[in-house]
Amino acid sequence: MSAWMDPILGQWNYYLVIALMMIGFYAVIARGNMVKKIVGLNIFQTSVFMLYISMGKVANGTAPILTGEPSTVYSNPLPHVLILTAIVVGVSTTAVGYALIIRIQESFGSIEDDDIIAMLDDEEAPAS
């Protein structure tokens, strides 16, 4: 790998991850279907995980499991630990999100933002 390519190659990894993040983030904040929002959240969060894991990589390194060889270069274990925690947090949020979607479908008969906002507006109107 030639020296002048290093920065471009290295940074490309991050740029691609950022592009993924944008796709996921758009899916979350665009008004639409609730299941899709949760999927968007999943994509958004997984790309953030990728950002963390990318930063932990050391060139020519190996997985952080001690080999006994003193010369071994290990990748950084700390981002891995953080992301393990974050993945668990992510799936917990997903589970709660789906549970809420099921209840919303049962009570409103729809999981589209637009429909529900329209129904809520109707409910608010006579009250005030």
Binding site: L16, M22, I65, L82, I87, I102, D115
Partner: protein, 190 residues
């Protein structure tokens, strides 16, 4: 070089999956693509030496999340209403991405062994894992000993999610089952 090619093609595949998931209206396909996204992400994590993370991502993202999503899908409409691209969210997402892209130029290069994160705290974990903990898997020793409190928090997050799901879909507090008179009654009792 080959590492870069593998990496870049995996991320390109991920981008393709993500865009497809965004574009399709059949929720079943969207959920399946989401599972595929996690699976490819897990492959990428292996390339980046994060074997523990890859293991978890595959089990959770492609496994549990997909199972829960499928259970949900059988209760909700199968198709989403078509939406045109909403401009404000697209603008916000682009802005966020640009902000990050600007930041990235200042960051240490990918894989650079001289980066601060590889030289400040992490070396102590690598040494300590052998000498103070005696566990070959450094991730395990950081996870369960050095940052054990984070993992305690993680367990509690899972516990919280369980409580939350039990309350939301396994609970008894429902509007239709409660008559108005009954509510009054329980008030008097309390």
């Amino acid at each position: 070089m080959s590492g870069f090619l593998v990496n870049a093609s995996l991320i390109a595949l991920l981008a393709l999956i993500a865009i497809l998931a965004l574009r399709l209206h059949r929720l079943f396909a969207v959920v399946m693509l989401s599972g595929a996204f996690s699976l490819v992400a897990a492959a990428q994590f292996v390339v980046l030496d994060a074997v523990d993370v890859a293991f978890t991502e595959a089990a959770v993202g492609a496994g549990i999340s997909t199972v829960l999503a499928l259970a949900t899908l059988s209760l909700v409409p199968a198709e989403e209403k078509p939406h045109s691209i909403s401009l404000v969210p697209a603008f916000l997402a682009t802005l966020t991405g640009l902000l990050l892209a600007v930041a990235v130029t200042d960051l240490p290069n990918f894989g650079d062994p001289k980066a601060p994160i590889h030289n400040h705290v992490a070396p102590e974990y690598i040494i300590g894992s052998e000498q103070a903990i005696g566990v070959p898997n450094i991730v395990t020793s950081v996870l369960a000993s050095y940052r054990s409190f984070d993992t305690f928090g993680e367990t509690l997050v899972v516990f919280t999610a369980a409580i939350a799901v039990l309350l939301i879909i396994g609970g008894y507090t429902r509007a239709p089952r409660r008559a108005k008179g009954k509510r009054k009654g329980s008030q008097d009792a309390g």
